[in-house]
Symmetry: D2
Subunit: 343 residues, 4 copies
Amino acid sequence: MIKVGIVGGTGYTGVELLRLLALHPNAEVCVVTSRAEKGLRVDAVYPNLRGFNELCFVDPTIDNLSACELVFFATPNSTAMHMAPDLLGLGIKVIDLSADFRLADVAVWEQWYNDKHACPELLQQAVYGLPETHRAEIAKANLVANPGCYPTATQLGFLPLVKANVIDLNMLIADAKSGVSGAGRAASVGALLSETGESFKAYAVPGHRHLPEIKQALNEVAESEVSLTFTPHLVPMIRGIHATLYARLTDQQVDLQKLFEDFYRDEPFVDVLPEGAHPDTADVRGTNRCQIAVHQAQRGDVVSVLSVIDNLVKGASGQAVHNMNIMFGLDETCGLSQVGLYP
Amino acid sequence: MIKVGIVGGTGYTGVELLRLLALHPNAEVCVVTSRAEKGLRVDAVYPNLRGFNELCFVDPTIDNLSACELVFFATPNSTAMHMAPDLLGLGIKVIDLSADFRLADVAVWEQWYNDKHACPELLQQAVYGLPETHRAEIAKANLVANPGCYPTATQLGFLPLVKANVIDLNMLIADAKSGVSGAGRAASVGALLSETGESFKAYAVPGHRHLPEIKQALNEVAESEVSLTFTPHLVPMIRGIHATLYARLTDQQVDLQKLFEDFYRDEPFVDVLPEGAHPDTADVRGTNRCQIAVHQAQRGDVVSVLSVIDNLVKGASGQAVHNMNIMFGLDETCGLSQVGLYP
Amino acid sequence: MIKVGIVGGTGYTGVELLRLLALHPNAEVCVVTSRAEKGLRVDAVYPNLRGFNELCFVDPTIDNLSACELVFFATPNSTAMHMAPDLLGLGIKVIDLSADFRLADVAVWEQWYNDKHACPELLQQAVYGLPETHRAEIAKANLVANPGCYPTATQLGFLPLVKANVIDLNMLIADAKSGVSGAGRAASVGALLSETGESFKAYAVPGHRHLPEIKQALNEVAESEVSLTFTPHLVPMIRGIHATLYARLTDQQVDLQKLFEDFYRDEPFVDVLPEGAHPDTADVRGTNRCQIAVHQAQRGDVVSVLSVIDNLVKGASGQAVHNMNIMFGLDETCGLSQVGLYP
Amino acid sequence: MIKVGIVGGTGYTGVELLRLLALHPNAEVCVVTSRAEKGLRVDAVYPNLRGFNELCFVDPTIDNLSACELVFFATPNSTAMHMAPDLLGLGIKVIDLSADFRLADVAVWEQWYNDKHACPELLQQAVYGLPETHRAEIAKANLVANPGCYPTATQLGFLPLVKANVIDLNMLIADAKSGVSGAGRAASVGALLSETGESFKAYAVPGHRHLPEIKQALNEVAESEVSLTFTPHLVPMIRGIHATLYARLTDQQVDLQKLFEDFYRDEPFVDVLPEGAHPDTADVRGTNRCQIAVHQAQRGDVVSVLSVIDNLVKGASGQAVHNMNIMFGLDETCGLSQVGLYP
């Protein structure tokens, strides 16, 4: 059993890690930290975990985490970077679900996250934890930067097209929609049911932090600079991301369906739907699965890709467990075989 | 008082007409038809109308409607075209909220609506009822084709850009999202709360009936053929449409905010929000208002327009009442001064 | 035009007052206060009010309010009691939407609201603003304590039975359900969509502050002490309260339907539905109406009353406007003739 | 591996059986029937099952089911009773999720279900499948009548009180609230999101079919006739039932918390929450768990019990799998160890 610690156990990605790991056959959560809830039983705060977890929240100190083999950071940005160096120094592997290690360029990071990076030297060592593109490096990594939710859905949709070099990279559109849990479990007026229920709106249109992350990843695959417009929207539901992606085809003869199916044939968590399908976030609820459909509407020169994930699973905690499985040489699907909770 | 008849009073656009007209100072609903609910009191079916309406549903016959000065069709497609000729022949004005008279080209109509048109000769006489573009013709019209909900939100967002000739018409993207009431009040599995709640998905990506309507309208303004990708999505809420529109700017120096403000300066129902705003469907709930914001994210060459309406009001029944006001020479805002029901 | 001030204009009852008064023919909002949003335009914070209100938020000082004829307090509890004496001293009428003046017994108030009352001497002068029971006093009042949302729905349901003396007062059950807007517009984890969406739960079962208010009102009508169990629940929707009330009939021969219809025959805002009906919160959304049905299931000795209101209108701001109409001798329905926003 | 057939695989309880059995280590679904979807792959209709199920829907004939060891009926009422005799005759065990075998008295069944019972002789042989009260009989049963959703939540809440004889059986109140999935996956206006979203209402107050089922069960335990008022309500969410139960205590000295904890100490799927708790349907979403809290508000003589389940799991398909586990001598929790999907 892998001894696991979770820093920041009271947010949604923290409790989702606890849900997934509760039934994982090869990992055991030994430490869950929370400054605010210190001393309280985890299952007193999260009654869904009653019977699965007898731990109490403790302070997030290196000492409390020192017996772990792996520590997940399910914290706000700018937390993991202050503790990761010490943990790595103790030989403890780290998977950071926040954004601290996602951007390779420290200047870009500091611009978008409005902070001075605490350990820029680790940025090169950190591996971007999208298994579909970085599996081999993840297997050898000590520090994994778990991708953002929007970047996961968006990259998985664009990747086959970019890799096959069949689209114009000068005008990529990612129109993305997320459930409200993406805003986290912090008290905020903007995420109240009274504000977000029966409401639909875009936000951060001038620039969202996930934009540089997506561009970095697509640039890497494209081996050139892509031009991307990324528009996030808030959907009146709890879980789920739907990315609707648009690009102009430079090759209209390509068999898009075959391209996608071939690209993801061996991926356990990317499911290319049959031609003509419209993926629904509800079908991947609670699972680590990305379902994708590709369309060429009206036989025109625009390709549309529809990509759905559960933002808390494939977009966060499930992908983190997937990364753990790879890092520790386990079967990749270990603990991740949930069926989508429909309806 | 204008004597009004409503054919198809049991659907959502019908009951919304009844809500709006209940307090209209210059119009009186005299006849409401419904085959299924014939004989029942309107307010027995719709308790929100108790105290406002004492009518009973009657059969949709020409005879029952013959004393009206104006008849609204709030019916499924392919109904109005069978009754409109007779009503017009009696000197009764007609506003059709369905799609029967929206497309000028009968062949296009028959292809998309899968039916033979019953009175193609009326297609040229019918006026497309978007007041912002057809005000003068509406004032003189006897037959108005009330626009679709998606086309309303989409046109109002694209119009200033197309008219000013500042965007590339070869790749327009309209990523549109609608509340479930757009699917109507018919029993269907796909619109159950259990199917659409906590769910987000695109639909009709290969081609939606509102596509030719939008293209016809934009072509007319552009005086050339536009290339448009239109993707509708279903949002887990009742009312509201959010259209997110993308185009490449051919003139990056244009002052977009000023362009939009000038374009809509005198329009009572189009409200251009201040720079940087993100319109929310909740702010226009229950009103005939379209709120719009225009963005040029990251100072790039892509313009994004965010356009929100209440699909049942500005996207249907409110716009129909607006058209009625114009046709009968009333103040345009008569009966349409609701404040958005927030929260 | 009555010159109106609103203290606490940024909460949901404040913005709802602004919505209702925007179209009120005899009242004009001259001052809206908010410490937090001071200096901002009201319609910048609430875009649904664009075009209806040009005011900016100001500090809640007596000076700023001194030109008003009436001041509404749409504030948290324990605010109005600190300002009301000065305003009343200036001859300004006060309607308090909070709980500061609802309980006649200062000791009970201090126990439930955990504070020392700032002006207990006003408690006797304050009139409880439920028009259906206190119309005459309201007409002469300078200080009106606007009822709570749950107490409004509950009292209106129990009143005819208590007054007619046909139920056993020793075991009244009020099982009440409220939309989340009842929790207000304050940042809180408990009211996030992610917490309350797809969730149903009771809260405050050991004792909710509306319990003593309801009991005081029912005791007064009963002229004896009633025994009431009151259980509030949170419904995953924004607006609406549904109170399901149970009591044992002491007189099984009473014609319940007639009893209720007679009791409310002349009330403009209480609508007794036909026998067998099930009122729906959606039918009174946005209106000042209470819809009620009374049932005697299985011909047994238990009477069930179903009572629905919009918690922000009849349960708060609409009732406050109703009280204003009465206090200033206007037609009671002035500005309150909205049709329920269904669907 | 137990060979399992599912009759009626396209409703919500059918697809929920498929979800639960997909990961059950000792059961294999071999046949799934559906007249309407005959020939289609199961995972084409339910994309959440892609990768878990390769079956196609077949006609519901005895022949198609003859190789099964167990058949679940996830059908509307009045279906199972026509096929159960033949299946039982072939030595195939039957678990009926519909109501055909729940009522022991055929006259009562025929009155409430408006049909002639097809095999009244089986009613005595059928075992009521609430494991908490009928475990031993279930273990030996060939025909199990799986309880209704409301009856499950209601009985589990009342049972300890009735058994301990500490409440007045003359006025039991069950105020129950259900998510919309309880209405099934049939096309109906009443279950549209546009009708049930942002709406709360009671239904079937004059008498709901689950009333005789609950009374039969409580009478059996009480060994006398209970008087019960049962009021179901519709909650704008998909899954979850919350039963709020009220009774007058005849013994006010009883330690209610201890009573409930002792009663359910050995039950794997009933979880008595700590004193003062308010169970939330969200905490049991997707699980076979019932969470219960018991309150004696204001130290009065009324006991309130709050009981939550997922209507599709503990209220239907999960309980059916639990029954299967008991009937086949498996560990009771086999395949039923999901953690509640919060948030």
